[in-house]
Amino acid sequence: MSAPLLWVVLPIGMGGAFLLVWQERWLVRIGTLSALGLALLAWWLPIDEPFAIGSLALKVDGTLQVLGRAFTLEPAHRSVLAMLYGLAAMWFFGSATLGLARRVIPLGMSILGLMVAMLAVRPFLYAAVFLGIAVLLSVPMLLPFTQRPGRGVVRYVIFHTLVIPFLLFAGWLFAGIEASPGDVELTVRATAIFVLGFAFLLSIFPLYTWIPMALEESSPYTVGFLLWLLPQATALFGMGFLDQYAFLRLSENLPALMRFAGLVMVVTAGVYASFENHAARLMGYGIIAETGFFLLTLSLGAPAGVHLISLQILPRGLGVTIWAFSLAILQKAAPDLRLTTLQGKGRAWPWVTLGIGFANLSLAGLPLLAGFPPRLLLLEQLAVNRSLGDALWLAIGLLGLISGAVRTLGSLVLPGESAGWKRSERVQEVILIGLGIWMLIGLGLFPQLSLFIFNDLSALFERLGQGML
């Protein structure tokens, strides 16, 4: 047995098999348990190390050879795998109450498998094609067969398709640079192509326009699932690229470029969020800001950067899950998600309002919530190691996100059609949102939990820790 067979081939196959499960109730049960099982296996099963079950001696190989190319999962990948499949189980379970299980679970499971394939494939450059396939597979998830495609979904596919040529070509050029490291001109061209590819991949300013559009056009839950999974896997893939190639790792210009792009993303997202009048689009700006935080963190250099990224992974995943879930519930109750339409809805949907508020404020770095420790450390690192100006720009972006949260909460709790308070959420919905809020508070109070879970992340990017970046 090999690890890629378990966490790549099996989920892709299961995704296909799930399409044959007609009863939604069973689909949710099987899908959630499968994802949870894969997460627990990732946590428990050692890779490339012999272990015994009773008298049976077993070993899970880390490598799978396919047509002369290798898929390799290292022992240090286990925490990432556990996080991806664990949070996916939460998404799958949440899809049941929203009636989205048929769209989310089968395709989501296959996309998860493809994302792990993206992280595991060697050479790296093949990853772009797996991402392309995952994006095309996500089209039916974003768009029900009975809904006309909007500009956001179309742009999403266009931008992510353009990633494939850029990254494949950059990967090939990088192999050439490894063979002749002194060729400066080739290095500059290859880096430029790589940066362009990643700008499309991570939806870096100004290529993020599709995110708010898609959130407005489609269900926030399905778009949210993709906006949690794709950037997260892409970020780890990008770190792998930096770890692999010394000339990228040691480049003096790349960190400055990442810092600039990160700040522009955080500030523009914050400014847009403070004026936005649509709750789902506002979530989009929050996610755009998250990508900005990631770029800023990576620009800090290692090991501080890797350490901070470990702190961000779980709060980000939890925040997006709760936010998207709460918005999707609200979408069923309101004709649209404009703040003017939502006025007073919080009085009938208090738990949903709490979910949106906590997720938004956690992302904006409000104290005692999960997003606070990484934001505080990022601000501190920027102020101490880079410049006070950068830290101030970051603070402006965070303020914008907070003002967006306050405006949303204000609209939701202002008296609308009826001034009284009641609870319209179902019990499962309350449990899920409540659990999520407690986890956000828990991670805010005990941030070291994130570090405990992702303590092997630095082993995965050990060379990243050696460069000055």
Binding site: L67, F130, L136, P144, F145, R148, L173, R189
Partner: protein
Amino acid sequence: MWLTLLSWLPTGIVLFASLGLLFSRAWRAQLILLAVEYLGVFWLVAMHWPFGLASVKLVTGWMVCATLGITQSSLKDVGDAEEMAWPQGRLFRFFMVAMVVVVVVALMPYVEALIPGIDRSVILGGLVSIGVGIVQLGITSNLLRITLSLLMVMAGFETLYAVVETSVLLTGLLAIVNLGLALSGAYWMTAAASPTREEASQ
């Protein structure tokens, strides 16, 4: 002399098909031109790859055309109102083609230096396909045209990339991407007959 001319013939096919795709408005003509473009791409790729492996590009390309053709023929042939918002004139398109040609000619020496051993005919065919695909992406909102443009960009890229990579796995994966693009396009076109979220909720 004849051999040199012969090596430029597939480039001519790709050029003719790419430019035709930009100017034609009937979907049947567009799909036929795309099929012709895949023939040119196959020919260019076969200059560097074994015949069997290169034929994957042709088979995939024609499957893509068939998928889009079957879908389009099953839909009512209604005009796309949004399409009229974009520049439509032939003069404008000629201007865009001229821009693409200038950019391609300017880029050719760089690509030649970047990919040692690549033939100029391959560079021209690949870059024109990519360029026209990108130009078309910028001036259309028609779902079929968007799909065709993405396929053109991919076809142009695959033509260039075939010179440096002959992996069977990658060939298979790129074939899946092309088929996936066609299926996504077909899905979009079918779904386009439905109302938007706002219209449905009204």
